[in-house]
């Protein structure tokens, strides 16, 4: 009887430990700091070399962290982009990005591993090339984004930059009143997350 109790107790402890370690290994969701997201686009209008800059904030994260590995998806509502010129924004939404038909732009990132120096805080800032699938205007393409990651106490600030060509996403080249937008556009995603 005593041996039976001992065996049962050991089994229970082992099971509990196993469960705990399983739970520890499970990927944890990364929490976005709500006021932090900013998605911008920068383009050039020719022939006057007009700089066109628009911003939006409606970003959602479905990123997870498993130790040093980060993976998941970022989604953005392109209808929220605002360049300060309402006609331009209306044209962007209706004629070019067709946001009613394609209400979401997203980036599904391949898992990345953060460097040990960043995790143990000997290095506060690092840059990473992140690969993944960018979906815009209903077209999905493999892309690589330059990403800066900066640790600030219990927060981490992230900035990813995507260089895209509009025709690759079947977006017509925006043109209005003699100004034609160059096909190269820079998308930048900024946000902060909680970090423990």
């Amino acid at each position: 009887m005593r041996d039976y109790l001992k065996t049962s107790l050991l089994t229970a402890v082992a099971f509990t430990l196993l469960q705990s370690s399983s739970a520890l290994a499970e990927a944890q969701p990364i929490r976005l700091i709500p006021s932090s997201p900013k998605v911008t686009y920068d383009a050039v209008g020719r022939p006057s070399m007009l700089k066109i800059h628009g911003e939006g904030k409606d970003l959602t994260l479905q990123l997870t962290r498993d130790g040093a590995t980060i993976a998941g998806k970022m989604s953005f509502n392109p209808a929220t982009l605002d360049s300060g010129i309402s006609l331009r924004d209306r044209h962007a939404r209706e004629k070019y990005l067709e946001v009613e038909k394609y209400p979401e732009a997203s980036f599904e990132m391949a898992p990345i591993t953060l460097p040990t120096e960043f995790l143990d805080e000997t290095q506060k800032e690092t840059s990473l090339p992140i690969k993944g699938k960018l979906t815009l205007h209903g077209v999905t393409r493999e892309v690589e984004a330059k990403t800066q990651v900066k640790r600030e106490g219990t927060e981490v600030e992230v900035q990813s930059t995507f260089e895209i060509k509009l025709p690759e996403y079947q977006v017509a080249i925006p043109s209005f009143a003699g100004i034609k937008v160059a096909e190269d556009v820079t998308l930048t995603v900024n946000f902060k997350v909680e970090w423990k």
Partner: protein, 361 residues
């Protein structure tokens, strides 16, 4: 102060006022919306004058409080302008009051009634104005020039126009324009090469023949201007000009300017120039702080200062608030109160109150 001296001062101010509204709308403050290059909206590489198609559309989108697309188009869209033609008629009227210690003078004046057309074929444009110049009671052409854009960024231009210098604000009676030789109808004959890029722009202008109306008639020389645009709303620049008459009596201007769009509704314009002419060294400055609580309605304060001839005339300071209102596309109303004093003239305080209507068709 003697009556004669007061009279001279009053006449000088009156002349100042009769031409005291902007000559050709140039809006360096559009930097607050990300428009760093004048050529986004104007055919003129240096800014001002006839609008291109985009500039007309932007008048509705970014400048005026109310309006329709038709109102922004040439002649209210009554006829379709071909792509190669940009044309406009610009009229301007001013009412003003000049307050001196003993008198108040009221008057109105039709200041400008000009037509301007630009014909553009590919990268080549020919631009010309014709209109009535009331000061002389004559028809004149303020500007006429040909420009060729070798690429999106590089261009050359020849003809009659202002050399690019400083902020290029429209208020030609401001000290930085009038005192530096860029007053109304004083465009010179020039040859210019320019680079206008996303962030950097630069102009080099050979001044081949000055305008006979200019205080600096017969001057020839060169002007340089460069600016840098950053953070989508800020522009800083440096300018220089050296002119002389047959190599003698050189006049040198060196200046720095800034157009800072803190937000799309709050901006600052500033220019400071050092002037050296026949050992009469000194400074001119201009500053404007502007708040636009609703699109098209501006509350602003300007501050100007000049002592470009300090050994003789002392420093003159002018400042005051104003309201600028663009109720509909191409319609501008401006009300301004300014107070002016000159340091070496006792009791020289003057009140200058003006209302201006500008209509661009």
């Amino acid at each position: 102060m003697t009556l004669a001296r007061w009279s001279v001062l009053a006449i000088a101010i009156l002349i100042n006022l009769i031409a005291s509204a902007p000559e050709a709308n140039a809006f360096p403050e559009m930097v607050r919306h990300g428009y760093a290059n004048c050529v986004s909206c104007h055919v003129n590489l240096g800014g001002g004058g006839v609008l291109n198609e985009y500039g007309r559309a932007l008048s509705l989108e970014a400048l005026s409080t109310w309006g329709t697309e038709k109102e922004a188009q040439t002649a209210y869209g009554l006829f379709t302008s071909p792509e190669w033609l940009n044309a406009a008629i610009e009229t301007r009227a001013l009412g003003y009051a000049l307050e001196q210690p003993d008198t108040l003078t009221l008057s109105t004046v039709l200041m400008q009634a000009d037509a301007e057309a630009a014909v553009t074929l590919g990268g080549f444009s020919v631009v010309g104005t014709a209109g009535y110049f009331e000061t002389e009671g004559a028809f004149i052409s303020r500007r006429h020039y040909a420009q060729y854009r070798l690429s999106d960024t590089v261009a050359v231009r020849a003809g009659k126009f202002y050399p690019v210098y400083g902020l290029m604000i429209a208020e030609h009676t401001s000290f930085i324009r009038r005192n530096n030789g860029f007053d109304q109808a004083q465009e010179s004959y020039n040859l210019e090469a320019s680079y206008v890029g996303e962030n950097w722009s630069g102009f080099i202008t050979g001044i081949l023949e000055s305008n006979e109306r200019s205080l600096y008639n017969e001057e020839k020389g060169v002007a340089l201007s460069g600016s840098y645009f950053f953070s989508n709303r800020f522009k800083l620049g440096l300018s220089a000009q050296r002119t002389s008459v047959n190599g003698n009596t050189p006049r040198v201007l060196l200046g720095a300017h800034a157009a800072l769009g803190f937000t799309s509704r709050f901006f600052y314009l500033g220019e400071l120039d050092w002037v050296d002419q026949n050992s009469k060294e000194g400074w001119t400055s201009y500053q404007r702080v502007d708040l636009e609580p609703i699109q098209g309605l501006h509350f602003f304060v300007t501050d100007e200062w000049v002592d470009s001839n300090r050994k003789v005339a002392g420093a003159t300071h002018r400042f005051g608030p104003g309201i600028q209102f663009f109720p509909r596309p191409h319609i501008e109303l401006q009300f301004q109160a300014q107070w002016q004093s000159t340091s070496n003239i006792p009791d020289s305080n003057l009140g200058i109150y003006s209302a201006m209507l500008n209509y661009y068709l």
